[in-house]
């Protein structure tokens, strides 16, 4: 390649239009060469070889920075897998690595039954079912008919098994398709097509553009001469931007077909970390280290690259994609945990009943011991054998024991096992409605609400704390360059802001950035004047903006063939904004290839050699790039980073005034809520450069502790920089955030914001999102030692008390009038607080504050703060965030919500629910959460009642049968009771019932408090329900008993009466509590009653059962119907009375609002006219 002049190069490169797509790495560990360490020092003079040399990035980003320990250790031979490139036989000789065929299907034909059953019986409920059913199979204990006792369990198992089988069938089918896809594999020095399932580890595979990768492979070479390949990882993590991956230069050169590629790769054992990879490759006697940027993973798609060659390292089920194929996180809802306490009570209740029965039976046996032989209805003696024996009598003790077990079988449904299944169904239904909710559909990202965890729906109705990320959650994470301070001059006046469309013309093609940016005219003029001092400053500033990043420019065709758009692809939205703005000012980044970048400066193409790049990491909080300037002489390092770390490396001796001015500008920017970055630059002397380069080379080829070494190198070069200026980027608040926060606040939810931003930025966002108000007293804690932290916390608490007293003195007026407290604490202070004894004080203080803002917090600190609340209170916590840094907090909180936004999908993958916008939190919590909680709590209580009432009716009857557990109600009715007779209505009501309309719930967020106060499910309600149950069971049992006392009624007939009476009573009870009647509700409730009648008739039409035709006989009498009416009314009247009195004279908020909803318009007017005279409330 000709490199005699820059201009020529630029022209050259334009003959190869693909070049514009080339890019350097994004935040990832990048490749570098271990060779040329000696020769490259000479590259300072920018010889021609240099041009095609790939860029080397020092990097500590990505997984490397998070998993320090992993990067420090050398791969042990024991922990490594050895892969001989292009020699699958040898590779697989010693260890059989998994083949590439995948099996996501869980079962095969043979294993389906045992395996599926085994999995299903992991649920305790099923084991309970099973034990009872097995007990019932013992002849001595056979209470129910065999069929009747097995049926419900078999039914549930069968339904689940069919569902599993169908899912598995679909998995098998897709596996088959996957496994039979074709790929080009190098066999005997030529490429042949092979099925995916036949690919072995060690084989060399060729993948063409837009194809999907068949397995995890280490890149050997690509169609791009610099060894770059682009992949899209949508299938893996949902991120749709392109990722760059590199082939090593050593292998890039080799053609696998002619000169045989050989080598040995030593890599770590398969693991599920898709952002990490560590390996060494021995090629031609050299050892090269490989990182995550050298591996492409199964499931990714190759884009913008013609072909790549790679060697399979992980195949089939050992690929990272397969290892990550696990389901959503599983959490248990608070309600369900609470429920266990009541289940425990019910178990005690059950055992009590059983003990009563068996003791009574024992007494009866003792008292009639002598009569048993002859008594017609007992007759212990069996004369049918050759000798006179006892018939089924095992002695006094054993009889009692059997009676105990039998009573457990008969009363088994006291523990509402069906409740667990109903709850699952109800949650599916609730999730359906949440997903389908139009108001939680995000137009801009075209994403629906997602329910990833299916068992915590009702927790959404009890949230007390919301922990929110700021960037991308409260804000849009769409950055806009707003103002700049360059050389001590502030360009943020906004005078004459206008949108300028900058474009360059090259070879008759017009290139234009895709996004328009508002520019400051003054600054625009300045940027064009090159010769003034200020002009120079501006020039350097924008070059830094355009160069000091990891953005990849991509050209996009437009409808107009002469115009092409440049799109800047990158992971960081801040960088994108900066590059777009630089482009608007005439510093347009046009091309990035591995060794250089081309920037069009005011119409003039200039080529910079990228000599090194130190990526951003959270310790340094800055990044730098070392550029060889177009004049081929000077080498400059451009640094960009957060002000805290930047000011420490700025050479303040040079221009103190300017530094001071910039600092004040920065302060004003951040108080406007802008994200600020400081930019600096330094020219490197040759010796300095050489020194840097050698240490850089050795650091980047180091096998151990590479990340730390690179950081050290970076720290060395990033100092004494000249301040160029600072930028302010606006991150716009998402739509509706202030309103949402206001709603949440009035719903009694505390909103805490945890952000990595600066304190000023955080506070200003706090103001603009109405989180903070001017009436609030702010307690700010930012300290650098434990003692000062302690002091601040104590001061805060004192202040708290003082304010309390003051507000108490003023009569405790309205909540808004009291100056509330806001706590602002930063990450450094949190270091001294979290996990120490100061936590307690922080908790105390924080719980007194209405707002807490934590700024500058690290991801783990976010989780720590959530844990602070979660471990100390019973209150429910919710964490919402969008980025990878929110994952820990999302997983820590009771409910984790991911925003599917700009920062990838890691938060979504870790979350329980995912949605597009922060403001959807309001309908989610206030509407769906409220409904779900109400519905689920009612359903649980109702199910307790429903089963207990039936058990009690059985129990009362047992008292009249010598305690022998005869049931007048047929076995089949007992079994069908919770399956057919009463199950559908509760599920329908659990899915559909609404206590209040959406409008009301949104209008009065305070209504959410009922969930926080656990108004719908608590111990008191449980006991009230149990008392009600007791009464209802007495009514249902004794009305027929007394009405038929001493008559000729037979057991089956009165059993049918009891069955139907209980079913009607239970369903009417539900009907009384239903708040919203849809036609479906009507159908379910009345349909169940009708279904019961039909079932009873069918059972009584079976002539082999003793109760044949009983129903038709008893239903023919008036007494039967009078009993039914009497039972239903008599049993439910007390409930109605209590319910009415409570609703009337101790109305809950929900009740009042329901009334207001129905009669609202009339009343409001009345009230306004005559203010309430009597306010008799004395609560």
């Amino acid at each position: 390649m000709d490199t005699s002049s820059n201009i020529e190069i630029i022209e050259n490169s334009y003959q190869v239009p693909d070049y514009t797509r080339n890019s350097s790495s994004q935040r990832s560990i990048s490749s570098f060469q271990s060779t040329q360490s000696k020769t490259s020092i000479r590259e300072v003079n920018f010889s021609s070889e240099l041009e095609s040399k790939p860029v080397r990035h020092g990097s500590t980003g990505g997984a490397d920075s998070e998993g320090f320990s992993a990067s420090y250790k050398e791969i042990n031979d024991d922990d490594a897998r050895l892969i001989y490139i292009n020699d699958p036989e040898k590779t697989n000789e010693k260890f059989e690595f998994a083949g590439n065929s995948i099996r996501t299907g869980k079962y095969s034909f043979l294993t389906f039954l045992p395996k599926n059953l085994f999995e299903q019986f992991h649920r305790v409920a099923y084991i309970y079912f099973l034990v009872i059913a097995i007990l019932n199979q013992l002849p001595q204990l056979a209470v129910f008919g065999r069929g009747a006792s097995i049926l419900p369990l078999a039914f549930v198992l069968l339904v689940t098994a069919i569902k599993d089988a169908y899912e598995d069938y679909r998995r098998h089918r897709s596996d088959k398709i996957e496994n039979n896809r074709l790929a080009w594999v190098l066999v005997n020095e030529q490429f042949q097509q092979k099925k995916w399932k036949d690919i072995c580890v060690g084989e060399v595979i060729k993948v063409f553009g837009n194809e999907t990768l068949p397995c995890d492979m280490v890149l050997l070479s690509t169609s791009d001469s610099t060894g770059v390949a682009y992949v899209q990882t949508t299938n893996l993590d949902g991120e749709s931007n392109l990722k760059t991956r590199y082939a090593k230069q050593e292998t890039q050169m080799k053609s696998p077909v002619e000169g045989k590629i050989s080598g040995l790769i030593k890599c770590e054992k398969p693991n599920r970390n898709i952002y990490g990879f560590q390996a060494n490759m021995d090629v031609d006697g050299k050892r090269i280290s490989l990182g995550p940027s050298n591996i492409i993973l199964r499931g990714c798609e190759l884009k913008n690259t013609d072909w790549t060659l790679g060697v399979a390292v992980y195949a089939g089920r050992e690929t990272k994609a397969m290892l990550n194929n696990s389901g959503a996180p599983s959490k248990r809802s608070r309600l369900e945990t609470r429920m266990n306490r009541e289940i425990f009570f019910l178990s005690i209740f059950l055992v009590t009943l059983c003990v009563v029965v068996c003791i009574c039976h024992g007494i009866w046996l003792r008292r009639h011991e002598d009569e048993l032989d002859l008594m017609q209805f007992y007759r212990k003696r069996d004369y049918s054998g050759p000798e006179v024996e006892n018939y089924e009598y095992y002695g006094w003790g054993l009889e009692i024991f059997f009676i105990f077990l039998m009573s457990v079988i008969v009363f088994q449904i006291m523990i509402p096992i069906s409740l667990y299944i109903s709850m699952e169904l109800v949650r599916v239904g609730q999730a359906y409605f949440m997903i389908r909710d139009n108001r939680m559909f995000d137009e801009s990202s075209n994403s629906r609400f997602q329910c990833r965890a299916l068992n915590i729906n009702e927790d959404l109705g009890q949230i007390k704390y919301v922990f929110s990320d700021k960037t991308g959650t409260l804000t849009e994470n769409k950055m806009e360059f707003k103002c700049a301070s360059i050389g001590g001059l502030d360009f943020s006046s906004g005078t004459g802001n206008e949108q300028v469309e900058y474009s360059v013309e090259v070879d008759g093609m017009i290139l234009r950035p895709k996004m328009k940016v508002k520019v400051d005219t003054e600054l625009l003029d300045l940027s064009k004047s090159k010769h003034s001092d200020e002009g120079k400053n501006v020039h350097d500033f924008f070059v830094a903006l355009a160069a000091c990043n990891t953005i990849v420019p991509l050209t996009v065709e437009t409808d107009d063939t002469s115009v092409k758009l440049i799109e800047y692809q990158g992971e960081s939205p801040d960088e994108q904004a900066l590059v777009y703005s630089a482009a608007a000012y005439g510093f347009m980044l046009i091309e990035r290839s591995s060794g250089h970048i081309v920037i069009d400066i005011q119409g003039e193409r200039q080529r910079f050699n990228v000599l090194g790049l130190h990526e951003f990491d959270s310790d340094r909080k800055r990044m730098s790039v070392i550029l060889g300037c177009p004049d081929n002489k000077t080498v400059k390092v451009f640094v960009k980073g957060a002000d805290t770390t930047m000011f420490s490396i700025i050479n303040k001796s040079l221009n103190l005034d300017m530094v001071k001015a910039t600092e004040s500008h920065l302060h004003s920017y951040s108080s406007k809520g802008l994200r600020t970055l400081v930019i600096g630059m330094r020219e490197l002397s040759t010796s300095e450069f050489e020194k840097w380069q050698s240490s850089y080379e050795s650091a980047s080829t180091a096998l151990m502790g590479r990340a730390a070494l690179l950081r050290k190198v970076a720290n060395k070069i990033e100092n004494h920089v000249t301040l160029l200026g600072a930028s302010g980027i606006e991150d716009k608040l998402q739509q509706g955030v202030p309103e949402a926060i206001e709603s949440l606040r009035s719903a009694g939810i505390k909103v805490w914001v945890l952000t990595g931003d600066k304190q000023e930025t955080a506070i200003s966002i706090g103001y603009s999102s109405k989180l903070l108000t001017s009436t609030m007293t702010q307690i700010v804690i930012n300290n650098n030692s434990k003692n000062s932290c302690r002091k601040s916390l104590e001061d805060g608490l004192v202040m708290c008390k003082k304010l309390k007293i003051e507000s108490g003195a003023t009569g405790g007026g309205h909540g808004d009038g009291v100056s509330r407290l806001a706590l602002i604490i930063d990450g450094t202070s949190l270091v001294y607080v979290l996990d120490t004894e100061l936590e307690e004080q922080l908790f105390e203080l924080a719980s007194k504050c209405s707002v807490v803002l934590c700024c500058r917090v690290a991801p783990l600190q976010k989780a720590g703060i959530v844990a602070l609340i979660k471990n100390r209170t019973e209150d429910m916590t919710l964490a919402i965030g969008d980025g990878a840094n929110d994952v820990s907090m999302i997983q820590m909180a009771d409910v984790g919500i991911g925003i599917s936004g700009q920062e990838g999908r890691q938060a979504v993958m870790a979350s329980d629910f995912a949605m597009g916008q922060f403001r959807f939190l309001v309908p989610l919590l206030l509407v769906h959460g409220h409904w779900n909680y109400q519905r689920m709590s009612y359903m649980i209580l109702y199910n307790f009642y429903r089963n207990a009432v039936f058990v009690l009716v059985l129990f009362w009857y047992v008292l009249f049968t010598c305690f022998t557990l005869t049931t007048a109600i047929t076995d089949w009715s007992s079994v069908l009771y919770s399956v057919i007779y009463t199950s559908v209505p509760t599920i329908i009501v659990g899915v559909l019932d609404k206590d209040l309309s959406r409008t009301t719930l949104l209008k009065y967020p305070q209504l959410y408090g009922s969930g926080q106060r656990q108004e719908s499910y608590n111990g008191k309600l449980f006991w009230v329900t149990i008392i009600d149950t007791l009464w209802q069971s007495l009514a249902a049992f004794f009305v027929p008993l007394l009405a038929y006392w001493g008559s000729s009624v037979d057991g089956s007939s009165i059993g049918d009466l009891w069955t139907i009476a209980v079913v009607i009573m239970v369903n009417v009870h539900l009907a009384m509590d239903v708040m919203t009647w849809y036609w479906i509700t009507h159908a379910a409730i009345w349909g169940s009653i009708i279904a019961t009648f039909i079932c009873v008739m069918v059972i009584d039409a079976l002539s082999f059962l003793p109760g044949y035709w009983a129903f038709f006989h008893i239903a023919n009498t008036e007494l039967f119907w009078l009993c039914l009416l009497g039972i239903t009314v008599g049993a439910l009247v007390p409930r109605l009375v209590v319910k009415y009195l409570v609703q009337c004279y101790r109305p809950s908020d929900i009740q009042i609002q329901r009334e207001a909803e129905k009669f609202g318009n009339l009343r409001v007017a009345e009230i306004e006219m005559n203010p309430i005279i009597d306010s008799p409330r004395t609560t």
């Binding site: 002859l374 007759r379 003696r381 009405a1043 057991g1051 009247v1133």
Partner: protein
């Protein structure tokens, strides 16, 4: 599923879809069902509604209760316990011994008709303390065997009365059949025989389909221990109505079973002589035996419970309705009155 309708979804409320139709929108299709906006009725317990409900209940229940009470009062019932009286005085110390002996157990009783009894007069026997619902007892039967002669061997549940000691099947097997009640009653009025109709005392459905026409008793009551009545082995089970009635096991430990019907009216003050055979052994478990003659009403036999219960519920409802009216007048609460809301009552949250 619904992604194929990119622009139709724009009809949903508030969806000014700026992205246009080229992107297939995932917006959920609008329907009143998915948005939970189906038309619905939302009942509320208003005072008016509750008071009228209670009034309605009382207006329905009180008449029914009165009617039931009257019906029960109109039933004429003669109940005569005889388990002690029908044992000769000398044997009263060893009732069980007497009943098991082969002595003559004929016993004459006289009954006085207290009120006019219109025909049909039902004759019942009533047993007390006899647990026909005991688990051992209810299970000890074979419905298959009763129905069809081919199922004769089906005696699985019948123990200890399934087979005789020489392993032949008993038909009908089981404790229930074995313990068939076998006291007999004969009535005379003014030395004139009163006919007892013993036909159609059992359920027709039982005779038709439960007890086979071609199933004849076999080996019945042949064992060591005689539990009760014997059956004529030449009459098929479907015509053994006493057995059919007995096999409808009673729900409760004191029960009546229909013995027959007297199809003439009895006048008040008439004396009826009963000749009964006191065969059945209830003495071994201290059970009582009663003879019952009873007319019937639309509500069945003499039982005032339902009437009282209805009157109580009705009365209570009326009382409650009145109480609610009073409460409503004294201390009304306006429905939907926002001043009762917790955040208005108690400012500044909890």
């Amino acid at each position: 599923m619904n992604s194929s309708t990119p622009s139709s979804s724009a009809g949903g409320p508030g969806s000014a879809d700026p992205t246009g139709p080229r992107r297939s929108s995932k917006r959920p299709k609008y329907s009143r069902f998915t948005q939970q906006e189906l038309p619905a009725c939302k009942p509320i317990l208003t005072p008016k509604w509750v008071i009228s409900t209670f009034l309605l209940i009382s207006f329905i229940f009180i008449p029914i209760g009165l009617a039931s009470l009257f019906a029960s009062r109109d039933v004429v019932e003669i109940v005569h316990g005889y388990e002690t009286d029908c044992i000769p005085e000398g044997s009263r110390n060893d009732k069980v011994g007497f009943i098991q002996s082969s002595l003559d157990k004929t016993c004459n009783r006289t009954l006085r008709v207290p009120k006019e009894m219109k025909q049909p007069i039902y004759v019942y026997y009533e047993l007390d303390n006899f647990y026909q619902n005991h688990r051992r007892y209810v299970r000890s039967r074979s419905d298959h065997q009763l129905r069809s002669p081919t199922s004769e061997h089906n005696i699985g549940d019948c123990g200890p009365e399934g087979a005789t000691s020489n392993r032949t099947h008993i038909v009908p097997c089981g404790l229930i059949a074995w313990s068939l009640f076998n006291d007999t009653y004969g009535f005379t009025r003014n030395n004139q025989q009163l006919n007892i109709n013993k036909r159609d005392i059992s359920w027709k459905s039982d005779r038709d389909r439960k007890f086979g026409r071609n199933v004849y008793p076999k080996n019945f009551q042949n064992g060591m221990l005689i539990g009760g009545g014997r059956l004529n082995s030449s009459i098929p089970l479907s015509e053994q109505e006493d057995l059919i009635v007995w096999m409808r096991t009673a729900a409760l430990p004191n029960f009546r079973k229909l013995y027959g019907k007297i199809e003439v009216d009895l006048q008040a003050g008439e004396i009826i002589n009963v000749t009964l055979q006191n065969n059945y052994n209830t003495y071994s478990f201290k059970g009582k035996k009663k003879l019952v003659l009873s007319t019937t009403s639309w509500l069945g036999g003499k039982n005032s419970f339902l009437g009282i219960a209805y009157l109580t519920v009705g009365g209570m409802s009326f009382f409650l309705a009145m109480v609610f009216v009073v409460i409503y007048l004294i201390k009304p609460r306006q429905l939907g009155d926002p001043s009762y809301l917790s955040w208005n009552r108690n400012p500044g949250g909890r």
